[in-house]
């Protein structure tokens, strides 16, 4: 994607759940700013007010005052509010409530390897071909069992295509080390752990071309672990799928 798309604040948001995440990020940052400024003022005040002077001895017991207690309780209540009222509902929606099958989500398998992403679509039959770690090879980066008929129409590409306005479920796997699947404009970051298949979901609300990165230092070539995200209209997405199928000779 074009670097100028990124401003000085958060990158553009094209995710259906992005507003919730941005609200959280903004809320927490303003809250932290208030705490930072308040504490800074307090520290400077203490440095001046309690500086060493003749005739003033240091006191080592904490000061018991009602005001301090209210302040502490206030901060704890604010933190609890951020956690219970904002973080937990967003987490439940983004991480736990997966789109129902009747919403017909796009399902894609995402394979992380040093140092590129690979995307595996189930093809026309909607079924993923059998995959296993033992099939990974130079000419088989998706680990497909080439003898399994379900896999004949599977699409394996290095760039992610998704339709706009439709939920996408991505199943993340890693071939080698821990990676982290990050789409900044989709407000998605998820560690990819070898030996596990971790599902995530997201939905795009506008079209465009963006960048996917790796957010976990995974080796010398980590900086190169990028892929192109293409969000297109459902019609264009279908056309792309058809092109991929015809490239497979189907």
């Amino acid at each position: 994607m074009n670097e100028s798309q990124y401003g000085w604040w958060l990158p553009p948001n094209v995710s259906a759940h992005g507003d919730d995440i941005d609200l959280m990020i903004n809320l927490i940052h303003w809250f932290m700013l208030a705490l930072f400024v308040g504490w800074s003022i307090f520290i400077v005040f203490c440095l001046v007010r309690f500086r060493q002077r003749p005739g003033h001895a240091a006191v080592y017991e904490p000061i018991e005052a009602r005001f301090n207690r209210w302040l502490e309780v206030g901060v704890a209540v604010a933190e609890a509010a951020v956690l219970i009222a904002f973080a937990m509902p967003v987490w439940a929606k983004v991480k736990n409530e997966f789109p129902a099958t009747n919403t017909n989500p796009v399902i894609v398998r995402v394979i992380g390897e040093q140092f590129k992403w690979l995307f595996h679509y189930p093809g026309k039959d909607g079924k993923f071909g059998k995959t296993a770690a033992e099939y990974y090879a130079d000419d088989n980066p998706a680990g497909l069992d080439f003898d399994d008929d379900d896999g004949i129409d599977d699409i394996t590409v290095r760039g992610l295509h998704i339709p706009v306005g439709k939920p996408v479920i991505a199943r993340l796997v890693s071939k080698d080390v821990i990676h982290s699947f990050k789409i900044p404009v989709m407000r998605i970051t998820q560690d990819v752990v070898p030996g596990m298949e971790i599902p995530i979901w997201f939905e795009a609300r506008s079209t465009g071309e963006f960048q996917i990165g790796c957010a976990q230092l995974c080796g010398l070539g980590h900086y190169e672990m990028k892929a192109k995200l293409t969000i297109e209209s459902p019609k264009e997405f279908q056309r792309w799928l058809d092109e991929e199928h015809s490239a497979l000779g189907l």
Binding site: E113, K116, D139, A142, F146, T156, R158, G159, A227
Partner: protein
């Protein structure tokens, strides 16, 4: 004043320590040749025999998928006009033979000092693919890794006997020249690109000139062999190695055939 016994002893120790250090430094600076000269100079008049043949492939042609370079690096895809390339791992030729099989004399050619060929062995990066995909080179020869691509590569050599290396090569960069000091043919050294994971090549480092790589006809020829009995190995990156013992007489030619069968 005369030195005391203690001072003399201390001085003696210092001299010894210096001598030992000097020897260590010399050993580090001038290591012994990695492969001792183990034979007599090669006499070309002896090389009268030839072993040739082909490498067949038995079974259904394995499936593979074309490489989508565009999603990872558009510059790579543009070099092929957007046409997806097939991986070079398993190529079964039209005549039912297998390409990119490394055939070499595994045993029987010891005891000679063969002259090194002039120039370096070359591994080129063209269109985000390595050319040649499989090659042999001589122990003591250098491997020159070249790039003509408009995108950056990272050459990662997984040497198990020779030193492994991991070097970036941006567009227009000078050749990376690696001297291969030791035999490395069982298996050959793998070279891959960390930026473009579909790029891989194999380089076998052999102490003699009796090796070949099968091409479009799946054939190989090992000429100028002295008469004798040899163990030949055919090695393929996916299907591994297989051996045959061959005896060839003076001024004679022997034809042999290897057959690989599809494994899962």
């Amino acid at each position: 004043m005369l030195p005391t016994a203690f001072e003399r002893a201390a001085h003696g120790g210092l001299v010894q320590a210096r001598a030992i250090l000097t020897v260590i430094c010399l050993v580090i600076m001038f290591p012994a040749p990695s492969r001792a000269a183990d034979g007599k100079p090669w006499d070309p008049a002896l090389g009268t025999a030839t072993i040739s043949g082909s490498v067949k492939f038995d079974g259904k042609r394995p499936r593979s998928r074309a490489i989508d370079m565009a999603g990872a690096d558009e510059k790579c895809a543009e070099l092929h006009g957007g046409v997806r390339q097939k991986p070079e791992t398993v190529i079964v030729n039209d005549n039912g033979t297998l390409r990119n099989v490394f055939v070499w004399v595994k045993s029987g050619a010891e005891g000679w000092e063969f002259p090194l060929p002039e120039g370096d062995a070359e591994l080129e990066q063209v269109g985000c693919l390595y050319t040649p995909h499989v090659q042999g080179m001589r122990t003591g020869q250098s491997l020159a890794i070249k790039t003509s691509d408009p995108t950056a590569h990272n050459v990662h050599g997984f040497g198990k006997v020779n030193r492994s290396f991991n070097r970036s090569q941006p567009p227009g960069a000078a050749d990376i020249v690696m001297r291969m000091r030791r035999d490395e043919s069982q298996p050959p050294m793998k070279v891959k690109c960390d930026i473009h994971p579909w790029m891989n090549a194999y380089v076998a480092v052999v102490p003699h000139p009796y090796y070949a790589v099968t091409g479009e006809r799946g054939a190989f020829e090992l000429p100028n062999l002295p008469p004798g009995t040899y163990i030949l190995e055919a090695w393929h990156e996916k299907y591994g190695g297989m051996e045959q013992t061959v005896t060839v007489a003076d001024n004679a030619s022997q034809t042999i055939e290897f057959t690989f069968t599809k494994k899962k």
